[in-house]
C-alpha cells in the first residue's frame, strides 16, 4: 500500500517538475512537495500539488464555512464527503501563501474534518480533492472577514 502510494505521488511530482522526492515518507507533503507551501496564489499552489489536470466542480464535497467571519484569526471550516478521497487540500488567497492544509486520507476512511484557519482579509477559499480514481474535484466559497473583528 505504501509502495503504491509512493509511486503515485512521485509520478505527480515529476509531472509538475517540482521539488525532487527526497523523503520516503510518501504522504508528508511538507517534505515531498515544498513548492506548494511557497506558492502565493491558489492557482499555482493547486498546480504544484495536483498537476495541471482539469478540475471539476462538484457538490459532493460538503464545505461548511461562515459567510461572514467575525474573527479572522479563527474561522471554523468543516469538510465532509462520502466519496473515496485520497487527498484533500484547502487554499486561500488571503494570506501570503495559499496552501493552508493538506489532508491525506488513509485508505478506507472518509473525509469528515473540522478545523480552524486564519485569514487576514476577505478572499476565496478553494477546496481541491483528489479521489482514488484520480479525479480532481473542486469547490470554492468566498469568506468575508471583517477587519478588526467588529462584526460589522
Amino acid at each position: 500500500m505504501e509502495r503504491r502510494k509512493f509511486f503515485g505521488l512521485s509520478a505527480a511530482v515529476l509531472a509538475v517538475a517540482a521539488a525532487p522526492v527526497t523523503s520516503l515518507n510518501a504522504v508528508n507533503f511538507r517534505e515531498t512537495n515544498k513548492g506548494v507551501w511557497e506558492s502565493e496564489k491558489t492557482a499555482s499552489a493547486i498546480k504544484e500539488l495536483f498537476g495541471s489536470g482539469g478540475l471539476k466542480k462538484t457538490n459532493k464535497i460538503k464545505f461548511d464555512a461562515p459567510k461572514l467571519a467575525e474573527n479572522g484569526g479563527s474561522i471554523p471550516i468543516g469538510l465532509s464527503s462520502k466519496l473515496d478521497i485520497e487527498t484533500i487540500a484547502l487554499f486561500q488567497d488571503a494570506n501570503p501563501r495559499a496552501a493552508t492544509v493538506v489532508f491525506s486520507v488513509p485508505e478506507g476512511q472518509k473525509v469528515d474534518y473540522d478545523f480552524r484557519i486564519k485569514m487576514r482579509q476577505t478572499a476565496m477559499v478553494t477546496i481541491v480533492a483528489k479521489t482514488r480514481s484520480g479525479e480532481l474535484l473542486t469547490t470554492a466559497k468566498e469568506i468575508d472577514v471583517s477587519i478588526g473583528g467588529c462584526g460589522g
Partner: protein
C-alpha cells in the same frame, strides 16, 4: 514547542469521534516578524490507532493558533490506543496518547 495536546476519542457504533487540540502558536514567517517571536507552527500531524494510520495532515502557519481538529474514523474500538504525532517546522516531534472511550 508544542508540548501538550488534549485528545478526546469516543467510539459509538464503530465510528470513533475524535477531538484534539494541539498547543502551538502557528506563527508563520510574517506573523512571527510582526510579533517578534520565532516562527513556530505544526507542519505535519499523524494519528494512529492500533498502528494503523487513521488521520494525516500537512499543515501551514495559516491554521489557527492552538489548532482544534475534529474528525471521525472507523476501525477501532473502545480501549484501543490512539496516538498522535506532530512535527513542527523545526522537525521537532511531539507525541500524545489516549485510550478510546
Amino acid at each position: 514547542m508544542a508540548s501538550s495536546m488534549k485528545i478526546k476519542a469516543k467510539e459509538k457504533k464503530g465510528v470513533v469521534k475524535v477531538k484534539v487540540m494541539f498547543k502551538s502558536l502557528m506563527a508563520d514567517k510574517e506573523e512571527a516578524k510582526k510579533k517578534s517571536i520565532d516562527v513556530d507552527y505544526i507542519a505535519h500531524i499523524i494519528a494512529k490507532a492500533n498502528d494503523k494510520v487513521v488521520f494525516e495532515a500537512s499543515t501551514s502557519g495559516f491554521m489557527s493558533e492552538n489548532p482544534l481538529l475534529k474528525f471521525n474514523f472507523t476501525g477501532a474500538k473502545k480501549g484501543d490506543n490512539l496516538v498522535f504525532v506532530t512535527t513542527d517546522n523545526n522537525g521537532k516531534t511531539d507525541t500524545g496518547k489516549t485510550k478510546i472511550k
